[in-house]
């Protein structure tokens, strides 16, 4: 079983296109893994991967920027923070159950790297 990664480099996939291909492939993949109890983790991860792709496509629409696809969950949150789109970051955080400690580390790091000290102050 393999995760389709052939589209990882593409950044300008339209939402409809996405729903058709990668997401459904990943769902298939998760279903295949779910057939074996030993692969519970793999199945869950493939499912999460599909959800991430959907969320990223939404983010691309709502921010109007094609800069989310192929990022990891944490990098997606970082991208939102960089754009100052805190609602997006909070949504992803909630949906993927990122712990407080993890989220705050990521946020502090991202803001500090960009020298956004005022962002750190209101934090």
């Amino acid at each position: 079983l393999k995760i389709p990664t052939d589209t990882a480099g593409e950044e300008t996939v339209s939402l409809s296109n996405l729903r058709d291909r990668v997401v459904s492939q990943l769902r298939d993949c998760a279903a295949q893994y779910a057939k074996s109890r030993k692969h519970e983790f793999q199945s869950k991860s493939a499912e999460e991967f599909a959800n991430l792709r959907k969320e990223q496509a939404k983010l691309q629409l709502s921010t109007g920027r094609n800069m989310f696809l192929s990022l990891s969950v944490i990098d997606t949150i970082r991208q939102c923070i960089r754009l100052g789109y805190n609602k997006g970051a909070a949504d992803i955080r909630r949906q993927f159950g990122i712990s407080d400690k993890h989220f705050y580390w990521v946020k502090v790091r991202t803001l500090a790297e960009r020298g956004q000290w005022e962002g750190l102050e209101v934090f």
């Binding site: 393999k2 995760i3 983790f41 990891s72 969950v73 944490i74 790091r109």
Partner: protein
């Protein structure tokens, strides 16, 4: 001062057995192939072996034999001008397909070419079939370049099969073991029959069996005794801990931080003009400073390197002051010192980045957590450390190494910790790395704990893997002469693989198999004795120790004679799945101990470190491969 081509290859005469013939043979075979083509030639190399071949033959020699252009297979290249196009590639499916596609494309163009496809080490049926099915068999002449071991130094030979461990452990492809066994058997035609084979691990057993069959095929006279007295086979799967532990010897730490590939290290060196530029340096024992320092752990190596740098500065001043009016002998002395200065400058450039990293708390805590995991198991603390690194944006391979180390020393991770760590890893580095995690699971490097028993504490105890380094080195006095345990090499950790070699050396010579019985299977190996022997059965795979032929009894008695009468015995240690620089250093250290009577020749499928081992489990990105290969030519 970039390396000149001839400096890339060491003289190869000072080792336990002279390896020069092996290189000369490989070189002359390649030259024969090149010479068999009449007229101008272009060579297209498999990216994986282009750099390694540099250790066999300098590009300049190829040019002398009419090679006008050199390319990397898989790159988009314009049609070569030369009439003869020669491919030099490992025999695998990807290469065969690439070659066939390229020849098809070229035959459509106007210029006529002759195509020669040389597969290494043999042309397999599969490759021939692919060439045939693609319809280019009529256009190409298929030849074989039987390259096996490539000498890396006086005492190191490697097959440079980059993916051997992944292939055997994940894909169940044992081709590399077959190549290794044949190559070991073939060494006997240069150095005489090897009368005794000892080993540990499933891969070792497999190699031994093929090795024995090859001996029979070769029709070796068992009554002769060769220069190599013993062969010890170590399966990498038996000791996955050592490559995951950070190396701290001079050569090892340089490999960890900068990467040494085919004896070449690339360093960014600041120039006077401003921007730094990459420089390539060759590291081998022909360089006296490197020979002195390569096997020394960093805490003892660093002060020496600083000393050189100091001396270098004062020497420069001195040489500049009285550079005029010299006699011939003075000028000779002057040039000698200048060469020493060049070496010192090179090593100060190489060690500079290491000097900067070692004192950082990041690096120190990495060493500390590794020691803690080995010494106490520290599962919870280890997991917390991994999490911390993930949160703070640590390096991916570094994090993965620690995760694997935790898994290997705990007989797999408990489900909860394993899933937590794996999930945090995927959240940070992307779900596509699930494939990588799956591969590591199949290879037994990052697994779920199947049972509640963990044999590692017993293994640690049986092999005394954790060493009190202060007691070993006499504290901070820097008296390295005191050290007599291999734990010195890793500054507190004794590499398990080398412990197994130590144990193997202590075994009495077994009785040779009787003539009538099939020697490979039916002789039950005597149980190993001595300290650590009870730990051996806790490690995966069988172990064996067999004597071959009739002469071995003499050998057995002779070896009981007074030590040193016949000079040290040459023992070949073959690592199946790769070896680290520090393991090589640990073996050299063993042979230098005052009561030792052995000299090691190290054979391996490749030289690796934790990062490069883990990288082979990643899905290969063709672009990266190309980039690396381009740097080699």
């Amino acid at each position: 001062m970039t390396a000149k081509p001839q400096a890339r290859v060491p003289p190869l005469v000072a080792g336990p057995v002279p390896l020069r013939d092996i290189r000369d043979w490989a070189r002359s075979r390649l030259v024969d192939i090149v010479d068999s083509m009449v007229g101008a030639k272009a060579i297209i190399f498999d990216p994986e072996i282009a750099g390694t071949l540099g250790l066999i033959i300098p590009g300049a020699v190829l040019a002398e034999h009419g090679v006008e252009q050199m390319f990397i297979l898989g790159e988009n290249i314009d049609e070569p001008k030369a009439r003869n196009i020669m491919y030099l590639a490992r025999a695998n499916i990807l290469n065969a397909q690439r070659i066939a596609t390229q020849i098809k494309a070229y035959t459509r163009l106007r210029h006529p070419h002759e195509y020669f496809v040389s597969f290494i080490p043999r042309c397999t049926c599969l490759c021939e079939k692919i060439i045939e099915e693609e319809g280019v068999k009529g256009d190409a002449t298929l030849i074989e370049y039987p390259l096996e071991f490539v000498p890396f130094d006086d005492d190191v030979i490697s097959l440079e099969l980059e993916h051997s461990f992944r292939e055997t452990s994940v894909e169940g492809d044992t081709t590399s073991l077959y190549i290794m066994a044949r190559a070991l058997a073939h060494l006997q035609s240069s150095f005489g029959p090897i009368p005794r084979v000892t080993g540990k691990g499933a891969a070792a057993e497999a190699v031994k069996n093929i090795f024995m069959k090859a001996r029979i095929e070769m029709g070796l006279k068992d009554t002769e005794e060769g220069k190599i007295k013993r062969l010890i086979l170590i399966d990498r799967a038996v000791d996955l801990i050592t490559p995951l532990v950070t190396q701290v010897t001079y050569e090892g730490i340089v490999d960890e931080m900068l990467g040494i590939k085919n004896n070449v290290v690339t360093v960014e060196v600041a120039t006077r003009a401003g921007p730094s530029e990459p420089k390539k340096y060759v590291l081998n024992s022909a360089d006296s400073l490197h020979a002195e320092m390569r096997d020394v752990p960093w805490p003892h190596a660093a002060p020496r390197i600083r000393e050189w740098a100091q001396k270098m500065k004062s020497d420069w001043r001195e040489l500049n002051e009285d550079a005029s009016s010299k006699t011939v002998s003075e000028i000779r002395d002057f040039t000698n010192r200048l060469m020493q200065l060049n070496l010192a400058e090179m090593h100060s450039n190489i060690s500079d980045p290491v000097m900067k990293v070692v004192p950082t708390s990041k690096f120190q805590s990495r060493l500390q957590i590794e020691r803690q995991v080995i010494e106490y198991g520290s599962l919870e603390e280890g997991c917390r450390h991994v999490e911390d690194l993930l949160f703070r944006g640590g390096d991916m391979m570094q994090i993965l190494r620690l995760m694997c180390l935790l898994s290997v020393t705990n007989n797999g991770l408990p489900k909860k910790s394993c899933d937590n760590l794996r999930r945090a890893f995927l959240l940070t580095f992307g779900y596509e790395n699930l494939v990588l995690l799956n591969h590591l699971e199949s290879a037994g490097m990052l697994t779920l704990r199947a049972e509640n028993r963990n044999p590692f504490p017993s293994i640690r105890k049986a092999f005394s893997l954790a060493i009190d380094i202060d007691a070993e080195t006499g504290g901070d006095t820097g008296a390295s002469a005191v050290a007599k345990d291999i734990g010195y090499i890793y500054w507190g950790y004794a590499p398990l693989s080398v412990r197994i070699v130590e144990l193997a050396l202590k075994q009495p010579r077994p009785k040779p198999a009787s003539k009538e019985t099939d020697s490979s299977q039916s002789t039950p190996s005597a149980p190993w004795r001595g300290r650590g022997a009870d730990g051996l059965s806790l490690l995966p795979g069988p172990h064996f120790d067999v004597a071959l032929g009739e002469h071995s009894q003499h050998g057995g008695e002779r070896s009981k004679g007074p030590i040193g009468r016949e000079g040290p015995e040459v023992v070949m240690v073959a690592f199946l799945g790769g070896v680290t620089f520090s393991e090589i250093s640990a073996l050299r250290f063993l042979s230098r101990l005052p009561n030792s009577n052995v000299k090691f020749l190290i054979a391996t499928t490749r030289i690796l470190n934790g990062n490069s081992l883990l990288q082979t489990f990643q899905e290969q990105k063709v672009d990266d491969l190309m980039k690396r290969a381009r740097g080699m030519l």
